[in-house]
Amino acid sequence: MIKYQGKGVYGAIAVGKISVFKRQDVQVKRVKIEDTSAEIARVKAAKERAIMQIQEIYEKALKEVGEANAQIFEIHMMMIEDDDYNEAIVEMIQGQSVNAEYAVAVTGDNFAEMFSSIDDSYMQARAVDVRDISNRIIACMNNVENESQGLDGKQIICADDLAPSETVSLDKDKVLAFVTAHGSSNSHTAILARNMNIPAIIGVGEQFLSQIKDGDMAIADGFTGEFICNPDEETLSAAKKKLESEAEKKALLQKLKGKENITLDGRKINIYANIGSVDNIGAVLLNDAGGIGLFRSEFLYLENTDYPTEEEQFKVYKRVLESMAAKKVIIRTLDIGADKQAEYFNLDKEENPALGLRAIRLCLSRPEMFKVQLRALYRASVYGRLGIMFPMITSVSELEKIHALCEQVKNELTADHIEYSDSIELGIMIETPAAAIISDKLAPMVDFFSVGTNDLTQYTLACDRQNPYVENFCDTHHEAILRLIEMSAQNAHKHGAWIGICGELAADTTLTETFLRMGIDELSVSPSFVLKVRDVVRKIDLSK
């Protein structure tokens, strides 16, 4: 058993036999020639054939992966026609009296080098495109058909790297997974694999091709990026189990996608998803969530070396809102404290960070920083249905201060002639006992509540969630917590606000019926739980 670690670009798992990708590589030799114009004519004819081939690949890609991803082949056709590229080839044939193959190969290498040297990972990945078209022209000159090899049943394709055209040319029904020695997650192969829903692992390292052979059993785990060749019994059965549970999830997806979250007696609720970065939007849509119930904005701050600017934040919020189209997106404002901070925050060490200067307390004590986030949110609001949620609220006066800051931001934007939506929903997290207990006072001031059960449990039961010694005392189903949630729900509804749950408890299906009976309007869970919760909701009968 040999394990290789690469980078998974599409989350799926495959178990099967290896097929090492064979490329009919044409060895290009430098040959001195007399008739340079005949060589130039050969290049021209080969280019025409190459363009016809790419046109076919483009049409295949159009069907398989859609227009946006097929466009790279249009670019390939344009690259072949590029003036500089062609002039370089012709000049080399004329100037050095060399054969057409050599001139194309060297020119392709030179242009690929140019792309590799650009200080930008996206442009570096374009070197593959130039090499792809150059190899195709050379193959066309020698009548080499680089068509897909005959695959015997479904197999895991292993290669040093795959050109986009090679990926598309492979018979998709016979490919279990792609594994490559090189490649970047920006490469079109990675993008295409994602769109073809095929597990792909890139960058497992040069040596792997010399250590594997056709027909070897292997596991390609696109979730972890692990590629295991000749796995032992135990590893193999674990992988098969994982494969089964994936299949189960897929079946659930098939069964429940597009269905309503409705109980047997007709009560509808919303099931939204929690995410912590823009990268998870795909999972939200894939799992058919009705919206985003909690978008944690912390990553914007934690992944930065200085406060993220209004523009940086605006771009991210805009992208999330646009990607979710008309679905609701609830973005939680910065929720960090001394236990989880970036250096530039310069927060002092605290004896007890869970009870310290965190979340809304930090934001209200640094209003200038807070206003940058609010401005970015308000500006982005015109691109979708935005809800803004404030964490760690304990009092009415905090909420009054927040409202005053929101008003300031709105007035400033109006003065700057910048648009914002007038239907933004404002809400708060119910994650302190205080907020739940005075929820009758808070409800009239907001559009919604969202219960953060993790912190609510910790603060209500005085139990540190991370402390293993008190684990036995930390009963997440404790009646005190359920009563606080019920109380908040009643007060929310009394004042026309809706209430959701976005903590871990929202995905606890043993409580789904309890929550529905309390009148909870929305459950926000990690994307992979959306359909499971939907399945449970659809089996509940509240009339009994």
Partner: protein, 85 residues
């Protein structure tokens, strides 16, 4: 000769797709279009050279229009950048 400056707003900069579209658009005009960033200038119809500039989001380029119906070409180029980059 006409020139205008433009600051790239697309997150990926002038990547393959818009470079292809730019080259295509520039070819259709009867003026000669060049793109300048810093000390480097390339013809807008030259796809690979254009990509080779590695123009990123937030960078400002100068677009120069020479010959033909400069006014119409300028409008067309401005429109192209506004809606694609």
């Amino acid at each position: 000769m006409k020139t205008f400056e433009y600051t790239i707003k697309d997150e990926l900069g002038i990547h393959a797709r818009p470079a292809g579209m730019l080259a295509k658009t520039a070819k259709e005009l009867d003026s000669e279009i060049t793109i300048t960033k810093g000390e480097k200038t390339v013809g807008a119809t030259k796809l690979m050279a254009l990509m080779g500039m590695g123009i990123k989001c937030g960078e400002t380029i100068t677009v120069t229009i020479n010959g033909g119906d400069e006014e119409a070409s300028e409008t067309a180029m401005k429109q192209f950048f506004e809606s694609n980059l």
